[in-house]
Amino acid sequence: MSIVKKGLILFSFVFIVLIISGCNSENASSEGDTIKIGAVLPMTGGNAVFGEKFEQAYTMAAEEINEAGGVNGKEIEIVIEDSEGDAQNARSATEKLVSDDGILALTGGRSSGVTLVEAQVAEENQIPYLIDHGSSDLATMEGYTYVYRLNPTAGMYPNALLDYFNENPPESIAHINVDNAFGEAVYDYGLQGYVENSDVEYEMFEYTAGELDLKPIMEQAKGLNPEVVLMTSGNDNDAAQLMMAANEASLSPELFVGTGAGHSIMGFAEQAGDLSETVLTAGPWHGDKNDEEYQAFFDKFTETYGNEPGEHEIEGYTAIYVLADAFERAEELNRESVLSALDSTDLDTIFGPIKFEDFDGYTNQNRAITDVSQWINGKMVTVYPEDQAQQELVPFQGWD
């Protein structure tokens, strides 16, 4: 075969592939009996526990919707790709989901690093992506058209806590902060304004995620004799390790406060044991525990999976309902129509009202509610704001 013939065959092959892929991307739509939602989650690796939480929440929501007749007669199907919690894996995992034309929208992400990658790939491939937990502020500050977020950003996590501080100003804060994108965002977009515009004596002590011996950093913080010890950790292991180190260093502030994430999940209370008692956590709202709909969700989830739902499960569950609502209102079942439907979302959920707006440099960001909760007898109870509080805030009682 001559070189010219070989070249022509190769050219034809490439041309055919391009045509097929081009057609598919333009007409990505749901034509079968199911509507698929893609999610990139850490199903293996050190953060697999979070992947499992979201998988349970998605599954429960999808089953409820399907049992109620689905979306215009079509069933919701969740397709999960494993990121192992790694941003590099997240790209290929998201690209795999995007290449499935039956998938009309993405959700998931979990960590900030993975969420940023998933958002970038979603924008490049023009598929709606609803962030349900990833908190890096950048994801909704890049001006992306296809990226929406229902949960508060890391910078918004301390909102309720800062309201509390404005009412009860602390004299000094030692902030034990993780040196990654999450920790950076909590300070840059959340705390910095308060620190610079108040009289509080503030000092930040950074540590590396996964570090085992954190006692030296608690010894350093002790030197400040802080009224409040603020802790930012991405997972429950670090959160527990921080409290163990504080115990060993006999660091005794009036309040220990975590900024959501690691301090706000049951794994923290299980690992830290008694040391979790009275630890506060400031982050996404945990729902109105007096609301009937919330209680039904809570009871059903606990009965189905044997563990009580926290912020992750509530966010994941809500995400599927928000997307189902958009599918139902979309003029056609394709990605562009879903995008338009998401723009006009105005939904009351167990996670509060969901409406995507542009404000303070954010685009398509929900003004998510935040609260301050406290670990009491191994359970997390809301203590602030007062209208949501289940009981009064209890100061740290000392190590004895």
Binding site: T44, V49, N237, M244, S250, G273
Partner: protein
């Protein structure tokens, strides 16, 4: 300052016992065991399993974790490392690196450690959040106990190497393997025993660490790097070198993390700086060579 010193000594004691196993294996066989950290992980797993299944205290479970690691180490040597040794040091390096990958992935199977973090917790765990205050100095009780266990084991190892026939055979095999063979020592068996003994020391460290730190399949790599630093610092193959080197590394890390601003995030860097300084100015390590 005193608090920081004792904190460093406590963690340094655990480092020492891990490095002791590594230097023993290197001293006798000239094998750099890249899977050494995984024996720490296996020790942690055995203690975790025994505590969660029958409530056995991690320190008591040493009587099971150490023989378990010995067995795995012995079998690894007799069936794989011994054969790879014939091809040279590079082969054993690659083989143990492969064994490390295998053990991590094997232990990450759902019916073993699984992909998640685990931790010993519960009211029946005596060591949980147990802090002992002596004067103005606070100690993590488990690490303090571990420090004493390490001291006892180092003394026992010294007696074993200097007073028993097998210990003397190990030293002879380390110093002059061919001469040892000529005088009737089965160097192959002795090497297997040494490899197993080194793994058992790592297993003991794993049981001690399980009282305080999270457990997951790839945690061994954290300790492997530190062990290499200690072995080079103390002198490759030197038992006292590993013991003292471990304490030096622990204290250096502790002071660096406490007194250098932002030092917590760079604690491994302090060890690497010592590593480079020793390599540059005293490449044979602080205590020379030889078991």
């Amino acid at each position: 300052m005193v608090q920081t010193l004792f904190d460093g000594l406590m963690i340094g004691g655990v480092y020492a016992i891990i490095a002791l196993g590594l230097t023993l294996i290197f001293g006798v066989m000239r094998v750099i065991n890249m899977a050494h950290g995984e024996f720490v992980m296996i020790g942690m797993f055995v203690s975790y399993f025994l505590f969660t299944s029958i409530g056995l205290d991690p320190f008591i479970s040493i009587i099971i974790s150490a023989p378990a690691c010995f067995l795995v180490g012995y079998l690894l040597y007799r069936f794989f490392v011994e054969k790879a040794k014939e091809g040279g040091e590079e082969n054993t390096l690659l083989l143990t690196a492969g064994a490390s990958i295998f053990l991590i992935n094997f232990m990450a199977l759902p019916f073993l450690l699984g992909p998640n973090f685990s931790r010993l917790t519960g009211d029946n765990l005596f060591w949980q959040n147990n802090v002992l205050n002596i004067g103005s100095v606070s100690f993590n009780s488990a690490l303090l106990m571990g420090f004493f266990v390490t001291g006892i084991l180092i003394c026992l190892l010294h007696l074993f190497l200097t007073k028993t026939d097998i210990g003397l055979a190990m030293r002879a095999s380390a110093q002059e393997p061919q001469a040892a063979q000529i005088v009737g020592i089965n160097v192959s068996s002795i090497s297997g025993l040494t490899f197993g003994l080194g793994a058992a020391f790592a297993g003991v460290a794993g049981s001690i660490l399980a009282t305080t730190y999270p457990i997951y399949a790839s945690i061994g790599s954290l300790y492997l790097v530190k062990s290499f630093i200690i072995v080079v610092l103390g002198g490759m193959g030197s038992i006292p070198g590993a013991a003292i080197g471990g304490l030096i590394l622990g204290v250096t890390e502790s002071f660096g993390a406490t007194y250098i601003p932002g030092g917590t995030g760079y604690r491994d860097v302090f060890g690497l700086i010592i590593f480079l300084i020793v390599l540059l100015y005293r490449p044979q390590g602080l205590f020379g060579k030889g078991v």
